[in-house]
Symmetry: C2
Subunit: 325 residues, 2 copies
């Protein structure tokens, strides 16, 4: 993994992935006690940064391989990213999703042209189902994060951050990234190492699912106790990846761990101050920027909003509990 691979991904994504805006609000600066810049990946196609990595990986396949189609396991944002990327190349996509995934995510993935295969989380093994389908049909697995072309695609977000911040005169900052398996975090870290060496990436996670923060602290891969159970489900994984972790270990500063309430408060602030719809997992970096001031040293903090695919009820609840009038 190096900057050339990210640059190659950027070439393949040109004209496809959106250059998302870097936003700000004086009201957020006041809360944080410093300048806050927000990279709004909820405005990316399919509502999350995941489209970058999915399109990067699908576009990097040899045509002979790609034409047979792709497969992914996901209940959420990666599913939609892969579905759209496959549709754009006119190849089939099979997405293996839990039968109890939110109806809207299943419907959206189907509407993007993917074949959705449902499985029962309690009685069936998704890997067995997926491997069987992939083998039978010759499909290529698009992993969610521990895959170089996926990391390279997410890294294009870092290229944009460096360029957009430089336009504002910002070359030094802590860059807080919503972190699950580490694809976005490691991709941005690699991009900034080359393009903005005065910036340092720091991951943000929800409490009880802070495997990356603990791994960075101990120096080896640590696991979460449970694979589910956070409101911030979009960024919950059991552990950092074998490819992503060494990159994060080399380049990242200490991780932030925020509460679910802080993530919801950040959602309410994004609503009123940025006019953005943010999902709980997509709000943890903004929550760290706003409510962990004492753990931040730089004059400017940049944070990613990783996605906006939030159920209406979850969004309403956050606004009702933590919005201001």
């Amino acid at each position: 993994m190096d900057i050339q691979r990210i640059e190659a991904a950027a070439d393949r994504l040109e004209g496809h992935a959106r250059v998302t805006p870097l936003l700000s609000s004086p009201f957020l600066d006041d809360i944080a006690g410093r300048r806050v810049l927000v990279k709004a990946e909820c405005l990316q196609h399919t509502g999350s940064f995941k489209y970058r990595g999915a399109r990067s990986a699908v576009s990097a396949l040899h045509e002979d391989q790609r034409k047979n189609g792709v497969i992914a396991y996901s209940s959420g944002n990666h599913a939609q990213g892969v579905a759209l990327a496959a549709k754009q190349f006119g190849v089939s996509a099979v997405i293996v999703m839990p039968a109890n995934a939110p109806r809207v995510k299943i419907d959206n993935t189907r509407a993007l042209g993917a074949e959705v295969v449902l499985y029962d989380r309690m009685t069936e093994d998704r890997d067995v189902i997926g491997t069987q389908i992939a083998t039978e049909r010759g499909l290529t697995l698009i992993k969610p994060f521990d895959e170089p072309d996926v990391i390279a695609g997410q890294g294009t977000c870092g290229l944009e951050i460096a360029a957009q911040a430089a336009e504002l005169g910002v070359t030094e900052a802590e860059v807080i990234v919503c972190c699950g398996g580490g694809g976005l975090t490691s991709g941005i870290a690699l991009a900034l190492e080359d393009r903005a060496p005065g910036m340092q990436v720091r991951p943000a996670e929800p409490e009880n699912f802070d495997d990356v923060a603990r791994s960075l602290s101990s120096g080896r891969i640590e696991h979460n106790q449970s694979p589910t159970g956070s409101l911030c489900d979009a960024i919950v994984t059991m552990q950092p990846g074998d490819i992503t972790f060494p990159i994060m270990k080399r380049l990242c500063g200490a991780g932030f761990v925020v509460t679910e309430e802080e993530a919801q408060r950040a959602m309410a602030q994004a609503f009123s101050r940025l006019k953005l719809v943010v999902e709980p997992g997509g709000a943890v970096a903004l929550a760290a920027a706003l409510y962990r001031s004492d753990e931040i040293n730089s004059d400017t903090v940049i944070c990613t909003i990783s996605g906006g695919n939030v159920d209406r009820a979850v969004f309403l609840s956050a606004l009702q509990q933590f919005g201001e009038d």
Copy 2:
């Protein structure tokens, strides 16, 4: 008013106004039955396009005049735009606001550094109060729409639409603009006349406040019956301007009139499909694009989202009534 004035405004706004993204969603295309592109001015500084015109007008003043400060009458988006523009130039701003304006808008305008003068809508005359203050202090009035440098500032949004659409290969489209007094509508129409002559601007208004649609139909300035009473209050004015109307008459196609329910449905679609927070008045153009398909002829329709400064309760209500799960 001509394109040179808009280009001059663009030069003054460079590095200050945000280039807002032109967004899209295949799900919105499906509803509309055609390609839909959305210019997201809710992401502009202060949460609406009004900052463009305000900064344009304040920056066009001679320094001797500007240093004495500016004044505006507004309960909403124009107030915040003028307040921020004045703050950036280090000059004072007085905003005359009704005492019963939403608390959050008064607070926001104050937080942006403006002096807010409240008046009682029932017993006091805002023009008398404003004129007295302006005369005493030598303040310059920044009108909300019927002022060339304000129109020129709003027109910069049209320059961006032409360039961003061209990048997508779109040079022909109907461009639907949320319309109050016509500042944004006439500014965009002038910009597109020069930069994208294959596009035609059409205003969108809420029902019972369709003065521009009726004026375009009759060929002379028509009035609304009431100055208030629409959920879409941000774009309600009594009549089109003396400067804006002749421009709209020369360049615009027929107006759209949408119901409050359609505006709220468009808000819910913007939430789920674009991840944007939109105020009711800012949603009327999207509502026309989605729900007035039979009145549109072009293969591609472009619509502005003019602002996102919506009270939490109004937003929650729209989502609860018209959101999908």
